[in-house]
Every structure is written in structure tokens, then in C-alpha cells.
């Protein structure tokens, strides 16, 4: 779907498809390098893409356009979530408050970098003003909302982690003198 979509914008070589996916769709999609050419070969065999002659860029056929619209209309299957950062924070007691704070600082920095990248992309996209621009802005906005949410979350969580533990060990020890049971038996 991504390859057909890239070729729907303009004919291009496989190499350019890869760069387009990385540079344009990069903030929400990725294709591994060794995936592009087998995909293009399969698409060519099914006559969804064509090369005018050998060494010409790939271009979409009429059937390819139809197929792209079919694929886009299919419901997006949700991918099972796998967030390593959250897993580490959830078991943060094993890791210690210091390491958790570092994870949150890293996440915050990454969100800020992402916002900067997206701002740069936005400047480029906003200057184009083609028929695809509104849609590009929608996906861009999603990235920005997500990054801002991550930023706010990281700051809020850093504050929470500092506030509830003055020393590093406070979270590891029981801070309720009268309570000896730890939640281990639930």
C-alpha cells in the first residue's frame, strides 16, 4: 500500500520510493530496505506497476490505481502494542527511581526533537498547497498532538516521581509505617 501510494504521487525508481517513504511518511510509516524491490517485482508481475523500459522509473498502471484504492478502503488492522518504555516504567520499582527519571528525561528530549522535526516538515508542507496538502497536514497534526502529549506526560511524570520520593530509596521501602504487607500476593 505504501509503495503504490508513493508511486501514485509520481513515477520514481525503487531507490526514490524508499527515500520518499523514509522522508515523507517517516513519522508514521517505515519500510525496510530489502522489502522495496521484492514488493516492486511482485507488483510488476501483477501488472499494478510498470516500467516503460528497463532502467526507467516505476509507474502506476490503471489497475494499480484501482488496487491502491481497494487497499486504502480496507479497514486498518490494529497492531498489537509493544511499548518498551512503558514496560520498563511499569516495573520501575525493580529499576529504581533514578533510572526511571532518566527514561522520562530521554522521552521528553525525544518528544522535543520530534516536535522540532515536525515543525520543519510543516513549514515545507504548508508552502506546497496542492490537492494532497490537507491530508498531509492531518497526519502531521497527529504527530504533533502525539508528541505534545508525550512531552506533557513526561514532565508530569517526572514531577510525580520527584514529589513522592525525596530520596532514591523512598519508593523501594514502605512509606506507611503501620503497613507491613506488600502487594505481592494479589
Amino acid at each position: 500500500m505504501a509503495v503504490l501510494g508513493a508511486l501514485s504521487v509520481a513515477p520514481m525508481t525503487g531507490y526514490a520510493v524508499r527515500e520518499a517513504i523514509r522522508d515523507v511518511l517517516g513519522h508514521f510509516w517505515s519500510e525496510s530496505f530489502g522489502q522495496i524491490y521484492p514488493t516492486l517485482a511482485a507488483l510488476e508481475e501483477r501488472e499494478l506497476v510498470r516500467r516503460a523500459d528497463r532502467a526507467a522509473p516505476y509507474e502506476l498502471t490503471a489497475r494499480g490505481e484501482v488496487r491502491l484504492r481497494e487497499l486504502l478502503a480496507e479497514p486498518a488492522q490494529r497492531v498489537p502494542p509493544r511499548n518498551g518504555l512503558m514496560l520498563r516504567l511499569f516495573f520501575g520499582r525493580q529499576l529504581g527511581p533514578d533510572a526511571c527519571r532518566q527514561l522520562l528525561l530521554d522521552a521528553k528530549a525525544e518528544a522535543e526533537e520530534q516536535l522540532a522535526r515536525l515543525a520543519a516538515v510543516r513549514a515545507v508542507v504548508a508552502a506546497e498547497d496542492g490537492p494532497d496538502t490537507p491530508y498531509a497536514l492531518i497526519t502531521l497534526s497527529a504527530g504533533e498532538h502525539t508528541a505534545r502529549a508525550a512531552l506533557a506526560w513526561a514532565e508530569e511524570s517526572l514531577a510525580a516521581l520527584l514529589g513522592s520520593s525525596e530520596s532514591d530509596a523512598a519508593l523501594s521501602r514502605a512509606d506507611r509505617p503501620g503497613a507491613a504487607q506488600s502487594g505481592e500476593e494479589s
Copy 2:
């Protein structure tokens, strides 16, 4: 890491590990069913988990605890993004504004459901108040921030999509009378 982490909370059967991952870590982690038992077998062979006897629940060994902390301390490798919704919206012109609006409505509804689910989880977690509670709240908060961001984005994008096109075809046609070039050649 997820399996060791689950067992670090309490000894349990493989079946219970699966349910714990689904129910407790579900909003940021998942393990396929057929993954649990091979993993437990491998962990048992490496003496990171043990069963008191056959048909007893698995429990973490001392080495298993050490290994868990090692794994948690490893840097989280980022997964290449693959967001099917964004891909569809990016090529939204092929799909048509109506279908895009439906995608956004679905995304909005899903974000609202997610917020409701997380609110229910929050009620349970907040009532516990164990040593792991602050960390559980951090991951929970991340889910809430993300869901609220998705909700706001969907509403904002729906408004943008309605505002810029009074009829369904407006986005497909050129709305700038004097401009014939389309961005296809970039």
C-alpha cells in the same frame, strides 16, 4: 521481560501470566498466546524461573530477578512505526473525503472507548496503593495523554476536513482557478 516482570509480582501459572499481560499491561504491551509457554520453558531451562513441582505455578528464581533488572536496564529499542490509519489518511485524496471522515470518526470513538477503559483501570489502581502503584499510574497516565491527544486530533481534523470542502468533490478538483499545475512532479 514481560513474563519475568509478571512473575516478579507474584508466582502464577502460564495461563495467568497471559491474562496478567492482557489485562494489566494490555494498553501498552501484548504477547501472543503461543509465545508464553515456549518462553517459560526457555526461562526454566536457564533457571530464571522454577516450579516447586510439576503443576505448581511458576516463580522467579534469584537469578531471574537479576536477569529481569538487567533486561529492564537495557535501552528500549525503538520499533519502526507502522500506522495504517495515517497511511490511509495521507493518501486520503484517493479515498475520498467521506471515507476519511469516517476514519476520523472511528478514531475518535476508539479514543473515547480507550479513555473509558483507562478510567476504569485508574479506579482500580488508585485503590491499591502498593509500592508499584506510582509506576502503574505513570504508564496509565501515558495512555490517557495519548488517548486525549488522539481525541483532540480527530475532532480538529474533522473540522478541518469539513471546513475546507463544502462538497465531497471539492478536494478532488482544483479550487484555485488560475493554477493548472499539480504537485505531481516534485
